[in-house]
């Protein structure tokens, strides 16, 4: 169940989006969040939606995954939208005024814009995580952190830590499952009773898990040393990232989008 939460994110596929360089995907996703703020009228938002939907279409991932991505955040979004509608600076036609609450034409429009922004950001970041395996993301992060080497930030080490952490998630999940079964066999009920009882049941789970993680870490460090690991310096890399033509084209598409947005904005 828990492993689905983390690893079910990535949907293997063979689309052009899946094959993009993770660096390009990561950077362009961040860039997209930036340029959303250029949009300030209907044509620009329509353009952004068209662009996002086209990217989703290209990825070949089912729409439902994206709708599901919005669902857990829907209350946060609605809360923000309502605040925006009720308390934002008034302008245009005022529909209702009561104390400090003002519902105005501008407020309403702003609320809808904010809703669009949230949905766009969630769609794009969901697209990133659905089409990029965690390991590739960690490679991209390593590459993008490279400039920090100047200030002696241990980039290689952090990247290795990240990839080992990812590699051990399923192992620890299996272990949790085993310990849970062992506790169930002794009569512990998980997911029963009130919240305090449920939290109580977790404690005998965490302690053995914690202890075994430390043992694993110890063993792993020994194995790494035996295999000649002496820190990041002087290591060569087996996995490398390749920038392809499609990544350049994607960048060009984003540049064109930016130009169009600036042109269309009010």
């Amino acid at each position: 169940m828990m492993s689905k939460l983390i690893f079910g994110r990535y949907i293997p596929g063979n689309s052009v989006i899946h094959h993009m360089d993770p660096r390009a995907k990561l950077l362009l996703s961040f860039y997209f969040i930036g340029i959303i703020f250029i949009a300030n009228n209907w044509p620009t938002y329509v353009l952004l939606f068209a662009f996002t939907l086209l990217a989703i279409k290209l990825s070949g991932v089912k729409w439902s995954f994206f709708i599901n991505g919005v669902k857990p955040l829907i209350w946060l979004i609605l809360f923000t939208v309502v605040l925006q509608i009720l308390f934002s600076a008034s302008g245009g036609h005022v529909y209702l005024q009561w104390g400090i609450i003002t519902i105005s034409q501008f407020g309403l429009i702003n609320g809808v814009y904010i809703f669009c922004r949230f949905v766009l950001i969630i769609f794009m970041s969901t697209l990133l995580t659905l089409t990029t395996p965690p390991l590739e993301l960690s490679d991209a992060i390593e590459y993008l952190l490279m400039p920090l080497k100047v200030v002696h930030f241990p980039v290689y080490e952090v990247a290795l830590m990240l990839s080992i952490a990812l590699r051990f998630v399923p192992t620890l999940m299996d272990e949790t499952e085993k310990i849970m079964n062992a506790q169930r066999a002794r009569g512990v009920d998980f997911g029963e009773g009130n919240i305090f009882q449920q939290m109580r049941a977790i404690v005998p789970l965490l302690i053995p898990l914690f202890v075994s993680s430390f043992n694993r870490a110890e063993d792993l460090a020994t194995a790494m040393e035996a295999r000649g690991y002496q820190g990041g310096e002087g290591r060569s890399k087996y996995r490398i990232l390749k920038w392809h033509g499609r990544d350049t084209w994607a960048t060009v598409a984003f540049a064109a989008l930016t130009v169009a947005l600036v042109f269309l904005r009010a």
Binding site: R167, T171, R227, S236, Y238
Partner: protein
């Protein structure tokens, strides 16, 4: 034949131990290049400690270790680690890479080997252990035996002269164990690899040219497997295991449970245990 491993009067004590307590006491032995030596002994007899001394994972109190003509010291430790490949007990806890090929490449990355050469060496090593179809798999989707074969592929790729197996098959099921042993025999046939296997498994010890028996930190016996196996039941005292179901049966019999006299496999033992209550 030249001596690839030469251990002279090795003494070792863990830092937290009292000064008069030694985990290893005055251990001396040599291993010829190309030999297969098994080290047997009880849990806690110091076998694994001995192995970790050989590649400098632990530093001895006194004594001299020479590997392929190089005396182990702080200056030579990294050279020596390149000469020694070590496979440990727990298949999961030595799998560093996020995928099979990444793990095989780990030692090579540490040595700073250029990528083109890594690609060919990794592919070659995976083919040798018959895991080439699993190159991009994650460790979570492999069996214990497959993970240990990947660990062996990592060794093949790094091309050490000595392979130390620290109870490498002890956590595997019988099939996994057979797979791994077969792979090691194959590796041994392909190159003049020296193998040092620390084991409880009688089959694994039987593969060796020579068996060393360690007890309580002392090297107590040395001989060919045939010589050692003549001891019969005393083998158990030396730390060579009876098969697991047999041990479980013995333990149950001691508690007064009636156990079947016939030999049971692990599966058969599990079935029998399930039915134990209901048959009463």
């Amino acid at each position: 034949m030249s001596q690839i491993i030469d251990v002279e009067h090795l003494n070792y004590r863990y830092p937290q131990q009292a000064a008069d307590q030694l985990t290893l006491t005055d251990i001396s032995f040599t291993v010829a290049a190309g030999e297969w030596v098994a080290i047997v002994g009880h849990n806690g007899s110091g076998k694994s400690t001995l192995a970790k001394n050989l590649n400098g994972l632990l530093a001895p109190v006194s004594g001299k270790i020479t590997i392929d003509g190089q005396v182990l010291s702080e200056q030579t430790v990294w050279d020596i680690r390149r000469k020694i490949g070590m496979v440990f007990q727990n298949p999961d806890n030595q799998f560093v890479g996020a995928t099979v090929e990444d793990d095989v490449a780990f030692s090579l990355e540490n040595q700073g080997i250029p990528r083109d050469e890594m690609l060919s060496r990794v592919a070659e090593a995976l083919a040798q252990v018959d895991m080439q179809d699993f190159a991009t798999r994650e460790p979570a989707r492999l069996s214990g035996g497959q993970k240990q074969r990947v660990a062996l592929a990592g060794m093949i790729a790094a091309r050490p002269q000595i392979l130390i197996l620290d109870e490498a098959t002890s956590m595997l099921d019988p099939e996994g164990r057979a797979e791994v042993l077969q792979t090691i025999r194959q590796m041994k046939a392909d190159s003049d690899l020296t193998v040092l296997s620390i084991t409880h498994d009688i089959d694994e010890a039987a593969n060796a040219n020579r068996v060393l028996v360690v007890n309580d930190g002392h090297l107590v016996e040395e001989g060919t497997p045939a010589e050692i196996f003549q001891h019969g039941p005393a083998l158990i005292k030396m730390g060579l295991d009876m098969p697991y179901p047999e041990r479980l049966k013995a333990a149950l019999a001691r508690l007064g449970v009636q156990v079947p006299a016939t030999y049971l496999t692990e599966k058969g033992m599990a079935d029998w245990l399930w039915q134990l209550r209901s048959n009463k």
